[in-house]
């Protein structure tokens, strides 16, 4: 088992380098802006308050390098870089992150920027990429520990969960380029592991330190990590209810009541939006379930009823958003073939069916897992719903904007756990030990598809 984890860790590093080698410089999402932000903080000595406070020399270095390295090949939509370089101060090759993104990721990279200050810009660029690869490795190692906390005696799950985390295509790509999502993913993995530790061992100092520190750091990492504070709060309340109930002698075999305790307040809070905006629309327009849910969430997020045009496009956009969670490389243009997303969709559906089977078993009193495990998985589900609502649903309603799947990498460990548990629930016990092998073989094949049929043809074809 230890050797497997060691090899998986080594492979994570090598795959990170491989994805970095295949992806040309500046082709990660918003990479020029991320690099520029680090440079601004290093040169100014403080975090710039807004995007106007620029250091022209840094911007020019980035734009010159971007122009040299085929940046324009893939970026038809951005202003011409020759023109950008004639501006005073020079325009940036892509959206500016300074003054917009939270600063912690960039501040952490400032020492590395200063250490490599005398080197060519691409040497600095690749040095930052190695930090991303390191964060991806740390996320995989945390997933190993998280799986051990949840399924200490189940070897197939102990292998399968970190394997899926390591090979997840979206994470493989974004984990090799410069992006603050990598820190958000790591902090989220850290938080989830802390919560699972709490459910396994109770209040001990590692859980306390992990959770409190993660909640303290999350507000400075990225907005997509903000949900971690609320998730931690809900999880701690769930844990306290469970332990208090056990202390009072309750038999919490129907742990779904705890879930209802969370869901009912959410329903009460959101009911007015439904009554005010969605219900009248429902009476007038025939709607699909996806449109109904979308309209409801839009009303929650924005208030007024969802415009008819957006409503019509919603099911298609929802499918794109879900597909993006599996993989959305580069600036969103190089995507896998449609059959690949369809296959993953079917497999995800199978996992959901497996989880429902487990839930029904639990409901009927035939407990497929311990209360602790059930509650831990419920925390995972809650985390996915919260991250999805915060990052994907709101973006879903922005016209001409495909919700980036990388925002959901904050719940990579919960998603991997639930998928693996769901699949396992559908496999007869005799065949269950084969699950890690089937998964690994499939993911190696997926890697070949991602690299040789998608990224290489896009960037070099």
């Amino acid at each position: 088992m230890k050797r497997y984890i060691l090899v998986l860790a080594a492979l994570t590093l090598v795959r990170g380098v491989l994805y970095r080698l295949v992806t040309p410089p500046w082709q990660g999402p918003d990479e020029p802006g991320h690099f520029e932000y680090i440079g601004f903080i290093a040169e100014l000595g403080y975090v710039p308050a807004d995007a106007i406070e620029v250091v022209p020399a840094v911007t020019q270095r980035v734009t010159l390098s971007a122009r040299e390295h085929w940046y324009k090949v893939f970026q038809h939509g951005w202003p011409d870089l020759d023109f950008a370089l004639t501006q005073n101060p020079s325009g940036l090759a892509g959206p500016r992150e300074a003054g917009y993104q939270l600063p912690l990721y960039y501040q952490l990279l400032v020492p590395l920027y200063q250490f490599t200050a005398e080197q060519p810009v691409l040497v600095q660029y690749y040095a930052f990429s190695f930090v991303s690869i390191g964060l991806a490795l740390a996320t995989v190692l945390l997933s190993v520990y998280a799986a051990r906390l949840l399924f200490p005696d189940n070897q197939s799950l102990l292998i399968a969960v970190p394997t899926l985390v390591a090979f997840w295509p979206q994470q493989s790509f974004i984990g090799a380029v410069i992006n603050n999502d990598n820190l958000a993913t790591f902090i989220a993995a850290w938080t989830i592991t802390g919560l699972l530790y709490l459910f396994r061992y109770g209040v001990r100092w590692p859980a306390f330190v992990l959770i409190v520190a993660a909640c303290a750091v999350a507000p400075f990492v990225k907005r997509s990590a903000a949900f971690l504070i609320a998730l931690s709060f809900i999880a701690v309340v769930m844990w306290a209810l469970w332990r208090w109930g056990a202390y009072r002698g309750w038999q919490v075999k129907h742990w779904h009541w705890v879930a209802l305790g969370v869901l009912v307040p959410v329903a009460v809070i959101s009911a007015p939006a439904f009554v005010r905006w969605v219900a009248p629309m429902l009476l007038q327009t025939p709607m699909t379930v996806a449109q109904l849910i979308g309209g409801y969430l839009y009303a929650l997020a924005y208030g007024p009823p969802l415009p008819a045009e957006l409503l019509e496009r919603l099911p298609a956009r929802l499918l794109i958003a879900l597909g993006n969670i599996w993989s959305q490389f580069g600036w969103g243009r190089p995507l896998l073939a449609v059959w690949n997303y369809q296959l993953v969709g079917v497999l995800a559906g199978a996992a959901v069916a497996g989880l429902l089977r487990l839930a029904v078993c639990a409901w009927l009193g035939n407990r497929p897992m311990t209360t602790r495990q059930g509650l831990s998985l419920l925390v995972c589900v809650t985390g996915i719903l919260m991250a999805g609502t915060q990052s994907i649903v709101v973006a879903l309603f922005l016209p001409n904007f495909n919700p980036p799947g990388r925002y959901m990498m904050t719940v990579l460990i919960p998603m991997s756990m639930l998928l693996v548990v769901g699949w396992r629930a559908l496999i007869p016990e005799r065949w269950q030990p084969l699950l890690p092998q089937i998964l690994l073989a499939g993911l190696i094949l997926q890697d070949a598809v991602s690299l040789s049929l998608t990224l290489i043809p896009y960037f070099y074809g």
């Binding site: 080594a10 324009k72 070949a448 690299l451 049929l453 043809p457």
Partner: protein, 229 residues
């Protein structure tokens, strides 16, 4: 059927499928002359109708053997057009046709890549070519045009209008048919192009690739062993 047999079957399928996908991907990745792509589509203008005696052309140097397709960015003047457009490949503007290819223009939109396929030219590496676009049978006001980039210098060729050199270059792409091994070598040269230090050294890429294969195989073997423990 035992789990061990299923396990063997899984890895036999994987051992065939994974290299197969890599080879398929490599073989199907087009080899394109990339120089022209250093421009943005935004900074183009129509060269003028291509109909009757009106022609447009471009000279270029083919970097690889197997020249097999030329694509030109066409524009329809925001109207429905009828007719055909012929590409003539030559060695020089007034030379004989080495190959011709004709496409229908009724499907051309505001920015459509017109694809002209020709028989692969095995000796194209390093040779200078010229292609001319004409539409002798097409009536004026029913013809399409090609987009030219006045501000971008291709450097190894010149655009032509009615046989006369023109400022800028046509927006074009040139494709080459090569075997998988050649494609792999070209890919390696594309990967290391303009990269600093270690990142620009082919041995580094080969080492990473080998490391990847060794670790994948080791991981597969360990997963088999752990499953049967």
């Amino acid at each position: 059927m035992t789990t061990r047999r299923v396990s063997v079957a899984i890895w036999i399928v994987a051992a065939i499928a994974v290299p197969g996908v890599w080879l398929w991907g490599l073989a199907s990745t087009p080899l394109v002359m990339r120089q022209e792509m250093r421009s943005v589509m935004l900074f183009t203008r129509p060269v003028g109708e291509i109909a009757g005696a009106q022609t447009a052309g471009q000279s270029f140097v083919a970097p690889y053997a197997g020249l097999s397709r030329i694509e030109v960015l066409l524009h329809n003047y925001e109207r429905a057009n009828r007719g055909t457009l012929t590409l003539r490949l030559r060695e020089m503007p007034n030379g004989p046709d080495l190959a011709t290819s004709t496409i229908a223009t009724d499907g051309v939109g505001e920015e459509t890549w017109g694809m002209f396929e020709i028989a692969p030219r095995a000796d194209s590496a390093g040779r200078t070519y010229y292609f001319q676009l004409d539409a002798q049978e097409t009536e004026p006001h029913q013809a399409v045009t090609v987009l030219v980039r006045p501000a971008i210098a291709y450097g190894e060729g010149t655009a032509y209008r009615n046989g006369q050199p023109l400022e800028g270059d046509l927006t074009f792409r040139v494709y080459f048919s090569v075997d998988v091994l050649t494609r792999a070598f070209v890919l390696l040269s594309q990967l290391i192009e303009d990269r600093p230090g270690l990142w620009g050294h082919p041995l580094f890429y080969i080492a990473v690739g080998l490391g990847y294969i060794i670790l994948i195989v080791t991981l597969a073997r360990l997963s088999i062993r752990l499953s049967h423990d």
